[in-house]
């Protein structure tokens, strides 16, 4: 399976995963506590700066970012149509800021490091009999599958485009579904073959 984690080193790669996650949680919450367009515009500028400072590391997520931009424009357009310009600005900015922060975390943090933090956060539950190691593994797998959706989609689209000259579009939903369900079998086989009893 492929990954959104960027191999280009950036300054943010060097920060500990826990700190980045904490900052994301804090800023993510703050974004939703304010509804001042000016404040959010400031956040937007900050996010743009962050994105720019990561340099080549963002290359891997540019497609994703573009789709976020389109989504933001759609949302803004909807609210403008409903006659609420302020809400348009606020929701678009929020979406862009929150996504930028999330993407910045994803491309600069190895999923396993994230999972380690989550494992630590869950560790108090171990006393209650929860198998935290398993929960952590499950989170890791979830992140893997999330990326695998995109990787598999790209593979299918590459193959389709090459063979028919057109982009597959929605026609690929059914094959993607089947490929992903089959992926659960392969991953389960590999997991068990390697860790199983």
């Amino acid at each position: 399976m492929g990954s959104l984690y960027s191999e280009y080193p950036s300054w943010l790669h060097r920060w500990p995963a826990g700190l980045k996650l904490l900052l994301l949680a804090v800023f993510g919450t703050l974004l939703f506590l304010t509804s001042s367009p000016l404040l959010l515009a400031g956040c937007g500028a900050g996010c743009a700066l962050l994105w720019w400072s990561l340099g080549e590391a963002t290359q891997i997520a540019r497609r994703l970012m573009r789709s976020v931009m389109v989504a933001a424009l759609l949302v803004a357009g909807f609210h403008v149509l409903m006659g609420n310009r302020e809400l348009a600005a606020v929701s678009a900015l929020r979406l862009i800021c929150a996504s930028t922060l999330g993407i910045a975390l994803t491309i600069t943090t190895r999923p396993s490091d994230l999972v380690e933090v989550l494992e630590w956060l869950l560790s108090p539950l171990a006393a209650l009999g929860v198998r935290t190691e398993r929960a952590a593994m499950q989170l890791a797998l979830m992140l893997r599958f999330t990326e695998h959706f995109f990787v598999q989609w790209k593979k299918l689209d590459d193959a389709y485009r090459l063979r028919t000259g057109k982009s597959g579009g929605l026609r690929l939903i059914a094959p993607l579904t089947i490929h992903m369900l089959q992926a659960t079998r392969r991953v389960a086989d590999a997991l068990w073959a390697r860790l199983g009893f």
Partner: protein
């Protein structure tokens, strides 16, 4: 003999992979834009993910996949539509729906397990029924409770609000049935509703 915590059983491995996949599906659906409605609960495609998780995995794994997803959201990953996450969202008017995600998947799965699945078409019809009962009725019931608790609405107001989502969710039930039909044809050995 006690099993060490870093190993998995065959059944466990399969279950972990499936649970993770549908939690991941929810995360992917979170990237699809939502439509904000004025009362603070968006229209989102994620409720389709809830139906699919229940129908495809059955009650227990469906529930687990939603709990995993909600845990990841709570921890701060921006996985709800519009890139939202964090503990904050469980204080918002949509909190009832979020809790409902887990229970709706569970109920849809239980219903699916009980319905006939002899042919792809019959399986698709069963999936439609299960997603209407679990993914629509049940999810909206929890949503209404949440709106009453957290948005200070009374029952009839909350009911009217949730009605706004019904047409969209009805289409999602149909989509769910179509996807199930495809899978039933392409993977005849898939166990819908987690049947043994």
């Amino acid at each position: 003999m006690t099993t060490p915590s870093h190993t998995v059983s065959r059944h466990g491995a399969r279950s972990m992979a499936q649970v993770s996949l549908f939690a991941a599906l929810m995360a992917v659906m979170g990237l699809i834009p939502k439509i904000d409605l004025p009362f603070g609960v968006p229209i989102t495609i994620q409720s389709l993910g809830v139906m699919l998780a229940g129908v495809m995995l059955g009650p227990w794994r469906g529930l687990q996949s939603m709990l995993l997803f909600l845990a990841a959201v709570a921890v701060g990953l921006p996985l709800l539509s519009g890139g939202r996450g964090g503990i904050g969202v469980f204080m918002s008017p949509s909190a009832g729906y979020l809790v409902g995600y887990a229970l709706a998947a569970c109920i849809a799965g239980a219903i699916m397990a009980a319905l006939p699945q002899s042919t792809p078409r019959r399986t698709a019809v069963s999936a439609f029924v299960a997603s209407v009962l679990g993914g629509l009725l049940c999810l909206h019931a929890f949503g209404v409770l949440g709106l009453m608790q957290l948005a200070g609405m009374n029952l009839s107001q909350a009911f009217k609000v949730t009605l706004a989502f019904v047409p969209g969710d009805f289409i999602k039930c149909i989509l769910c049935a179509v996807i199930v039909h495809t899978v039933a044809r392409g993977m005849p050995d898939w166990r819908f509703g987690g049947r043994q």
